[in-house]
Amino acid sequence: MSTTLNVFTADVLREAVNQVFTSMIFMSVDPTAPINEPVTQQTSVMASVSFMGNFEGSLTLRCSMACAKAVTANLLGFEEDEPIEQSDIADAMGEVSNMVLGSVKSATYDKVGELIASAPTVFSGDHMEHHLRAGEVRLSTTVGVDDTYCMEVHVVYIDGK
């Protein structure tokens, strides 16, 4: 396995998010939408799932709490006045990150081979940043969601074993 293969591209990430959001969450995704919602300057939610195989790393989704609530309500089919608990948001965002990774795995299988995913981890807070460890490579992209929200997608991996 080459260590220089650039298999995780922004297009792959955006298409994976698009597949999950349009088929299961019923929200539109626009990779070219202007981003009016700076995620890092407000309370945000990060959902991360690790993977192992010929590449090792993690895929992380980050969005505002408002976006995470909208995603949760749509994904779980909540009624308009139904209260959304933090645990609902954690469960929903975890599943979304898992499914986005699933789409990435399908798109990259021919080049990467099988990737084994961990259980997702979800956390929220203010001004969160994701720091790289030595040897890690990060690919990031951003998409607009429902013409309202911004979703960041990050893949961090060690380029080959």
């Binding site: 299961m24 779980l76 929903a92 975890g94 898992n98 699933g102």
Partner: protein, 124 residues
Amino acid sequence: MAGSLLIIDDSSTMRRIIKRTIRMSGIQFDETFEAESGEEGFAKLSERAVDVVLCDVNMQGMRGTEMVKKVRDELPSCAKTKIIMVTTESSAAFVAEALSSGADGYIGKPFTPEKFQEKLTPLL
């Protein structure tokens, strides 16, 4: 449409999503049961066969494909039960593993109501 359904997934959120998607597909089951592990799913099927099982693959404890093989090997009462794996796995190796374990098919995540209709309608 009639029949009974068992959803096996260690995520209550995913079980809820599957139920919502089946509702949206227009398919109706008389009874829907849930299990949160392969072990619990096997125990429920030991007590009572259902028409259709939707089963996750990667679960803590008994994997979905292990459970399917155990059902096919040990529960003759479930010989007519159709088992569909619901999973993010989509490699040729996985599909071969799932079918050789005794599953009747699989639905990849992300999925749509139309996908459930396509896969489940012929089984009912």
